[in-house]
Amino acid sequence: MNRPLQTIGTTFISIFLAELGDKTQLSTLAIAAESDHSLEVFLGAAIALMLTSFLGVLAGKWLAQHLSRNLLDTLSGLCFLLLAVGLLWEAVS
């Protein structure tokens, strides 16, 4: 899958679904409700989230340069499996 829109779309859908109702969204919501400064809260959250996903991408690039393709596929597969199990656990508990 090398088309930009496909990569952006896949990433968007998986991250968006994982984030809905997650603790980050809930804490953003709580601060917004409490402080009455919606714009500032959104600005702060936006900068923080950009930073963390940038760090995530950097870490991924670093791993891609230092580990073999097969090992990476196995590791990211296990990662996704872990995320799937974690989300299922959250959904049923």
């Binding site: 809905l20 760090l55 991408v57 690039k61 990211s76």
Partner: protein, 93 residues
């Protein structure tokens, strides 16, 4: 502009996101993708939209949002990606 609120939100959201599942997913996606920058674009957009929802909608809708089926759906998306990464000769992201 109340910069104190911006900073407070930035630190709170940053700390709750570091090592969290969306960063883990971003890392996995970018390590196996040929174009990590598009993973960054997709992840950032998803996080921006989800925090915008958190700020705008407020706690009323957050409580009625069907988080359980959404989490199940996200779990299935990640399980699918796990299969794609773990099974040999499957399409790569």
């Amino acid at each position: 502009m109340d910069w104190q609120v911006v900073l407070l939100t930035l630190v709170t959201v940053f700390l709750s996101e570091v090592g969290d599942k969306s960063q883990l997913a971003t890392m996995s996606l970018s390590s196996t993708s040929v174009s990590p920058r598009y993973v960054f674009v997709g992840a950032t957009l998803a996080l921006l939209v989800s925090s915008l929802l958190g700020v705008l909608i407020g706690d009323r809708l957050a409580h009625t949002l069907p988080t359980q089926p959404i989490k199940m759906l996200a779990a299935m998306v990640f399980a699918l990606m796990a299969l794609r990464s773990l099974l040999p000769n499957s399409d790569k992201l």
